[in-house]
Symmetry: C2
């Protein structure tokens, strides 16, 4: 997993080839794209041995470099994981084609017919960490939405990603996709990312997927448009009118069902009117699930570790939760407006006014009422597939499916109209 540099010319050459491919991909029928995705699915299964061998090299290097077990586990492929990747490709093939959808269409008084049509972006670059399944997911979603894919995984997964891209690209070409529809970006060090972020005019969109450090680096250094994804400092607020049993279920599910993902809850806010009743319940439930609570005085009095600003700001991604009693709904909203990363927040309440005020004033991609924060997810939203969860406000916000990987074009048809 030593990092390798790539020159700007090398990166731009790959991007320029992707651009050529994109011009062809944009016009492909759904039938052709689906056929290619199904052929890619078969190819991933057929090439299991060579992909697993490449992956074994990555795992060995990661172990030698002393990577944490959890990271090695995310890196490791297995026949089951390859089967799941192949199924992912088939699932994407089964989804409707977003390209060509008429978003708006109407005629003007002068007889002009105006249609806003969904079109591919062109060249889509993904910059991501660790899990090699992102390679396959991103390629599938890019192809289905008519975009060429430039994939830039982490150095630690380089062998696995290279093997997977070889398999996908070969199968795609066999099925009639343009060459260079799916490519790995050369280089595995930060300079190669930097060249990619400067390839304005060649790359249409960059989506970073990974930790806050990666995302911040991309946002600050890209001249190519970026969609930020996935940093989640997620809150659950238990209102004075909450069903407390429901609140325990929602808080526990939001926190512990999968701690390493961006939609898992990190901070609990409790209305003071229900604190006396709720704190014993939730402290016990979270502790039973192995959660360490980082709390204010009220929670410390029940055994929590004392929390500071670092805790309110933290995206723990672990069995830790910050917790605080608030004076009222507005103090909860204030806390969220100050500390949230704008991903997902949930209110537990039976009070319609409180729910409406929370929904109106909390400025996050997803706002839940009486539901686990874990539902902010492409599959749970019914998108069928997801390339990430946008935490920005421009273009896409929340789970991003195929439609979010498209732009639009206005087609205006007349019979000689002039102004």
């Amino acid at each position: 997993m030593s990092e390798q540099a790539a020159t700007e010319a090398e990166v731009r050459a790959v991007a320029a080839r992707a651009r050529e491919a994109a011009a062809e991909l944009a016009g492909l029928t759904r039938a052709k794209k689906d056929a290619a995705l199904l052929m890619m699915a078969d190819a991933v299964t057929d090439a299991a041995d060579s992909v697993l061998a490449a992956n074994a090299k990555d795992v060995q290097a990661a172990r030698a470099a002393g990577l944490a077990d959890a990271l090695i586990d995310r890196l490791r492929l297995s026949p089951d994981r390859l089967t799941a990747m192949a199924q992912g490709l088939r699932d994407v093939a089964a989804l409707p084609d977003p390209v060509g959808e008429v978003i708006r269409g109407y005629n003007r008084p002068n007889g002009l017919e105006i249609r806003q049509i969904r079109v591919p972006f062109g060249v889509l670059a993904m910059i991501y960490e660790a899990r090699p399944n992102v390679t396959v997911d991103a390629a599938a979603l890019a192809i289905k939405s008519g975009n060429a894919a430039l994939l830039r995984g982490s150095a630690s997964a380089h062998e696995s990603n290279a093997a997977l891209v070889d398999v996908l690209a070969a199968a795609g070409e066999k099925a009639g996709l343009p060459a260079d529809s799916v490519q790995l970006v050369p280089g595995t060090d930060r300079s190669s990312v930097s060249h990619l972020l400067n390839a304005r005019g060649l790359v249409d969109l960059v989506i970073p997927r990974g930790g806050a450090g990666l995302i911040d680096y991309v946002v600050r250094n890209s001249t190519v448009p970026v969609i930020e994804t996935g940093v989640g400092n997620v809150h659950v607020y238990v209102d004075r009118k909450a069903d407390l049993e429901m609140a325990v279920r929602i808080v526990v599910n939001s926190k512990v069902s999968r701690v390493s993902v961006c939609n898992s809850a990190e901070t609990l806010l409790v209305h003071r009117d229900v604190a006396a009743a709720f704190l014993p319940m939730i402290t016990k439930a979270l502790t039973d699930h192995g959660v360490t609570i980082h709390g204010d005085d009220a929670f410390v009095a029940r055994g929590a570790v004392a929390a500071g600003d670092d805790d309110w700001a933290a995206e723990y991604l672990s069995l830790d939760m910050a917790a605080r009693v608030v004076a009222d709904l507005d103090e909860a909203i204030e806390h969220i407006r100050r500390w949230s990363s704008g991903h997902t927040e949930s209110i537990v309440t039976a009070d319609l006014d409180a729910a409406r005020r929370f929904v109106a004033r909390v400025d996050s991609a997803a706002v839940m009422v009486n539901a686990s924060t874990r539902f902010t997810d492409g599959a749970e939203f019914g998108f069928g597939a997801e390339i990430g969860i946008s935490t920005q406000k421009m273009h896409a916000r929340g789970p991003m499916g195929l439609a979010e990987l498209t732009s639009s074009k206005w087609v205006v048809t007349g019979s000689g109209q002039i102004r």
Copy 2:
């Protein structure tokens, strides 16, 4: 019109106040916003004397600095122009409120109700050149879409813009808008723009409106999300199956009806099969309108100036037009893909296949068939108002109305669902 610096702290303080205002603005009813817009309209008319006096200072300074007459004309306000600004505010008041629109809404098998709702961005910054009417248009569209406006006009219009913002802000507050809903960004030099572009987390969206130099500077230096607008190297292609009389009308209208705007045509491409018949017609028509043609050999043979790559790349914004004969439709498409700024292109043809291929392969915000390129315009599209024309693919493409000034939020309502 001497330029004044502003410190980063000053710019951030203004942005932070806008952020406070935005939190309130987001929740205002349409009735309140419309009432404020109507009060602003009256205020602009009532304050005509003081605004015109401020404008006279700008005009005097511009004259002293030796600004071109055309620029001074764009800068100069008159009672008629103020009346038009007031009418613009009333027109925006009459438009539907984009905020709260349910973009998508459905229920999931587990009973969750999922709704994607249109919400304001928050703080919208406009950076623009010359014309003070943009100050009023931008404020109107920002308020109507629930956003706080940060306005940064050019140094040459500083007195006019400051007077207009004073009038708008006072009227808005009187009508119950939060203080700081509409503010001028302090400073008139580039460093103050730079502070604005670094105010990530305080400013949600920057829209530059002006020349290619300004837009390029903003795109390359902003950490805040940007929507590029309005650079138009616009093409008209006359196909072998074109109605040549119609083609003359469309080319002339596209070129000469208003040369200084981004949707006016800059390059003419002619299929060689109709060159012998069409070149005499179009050369005469353009020359009669005072257009200088910069052409290839075929056009030079009819009196044009010889064109080079600079001409294919030029956004003239003047009575100049580049012109070339192409071998076929695909050569026209190739030319456009290489040189276009992605704003608008038009094909004149009676051939359905040619029209479909042109529409499919030309990757521009607007593609016209048998219509003048001048129709790429918010009013002509029926938007009622326009803040600019996006030439990027992310978030908005083509004319931007109120909907394009909004983001969205997912609201998920349940009854205790967990995963």
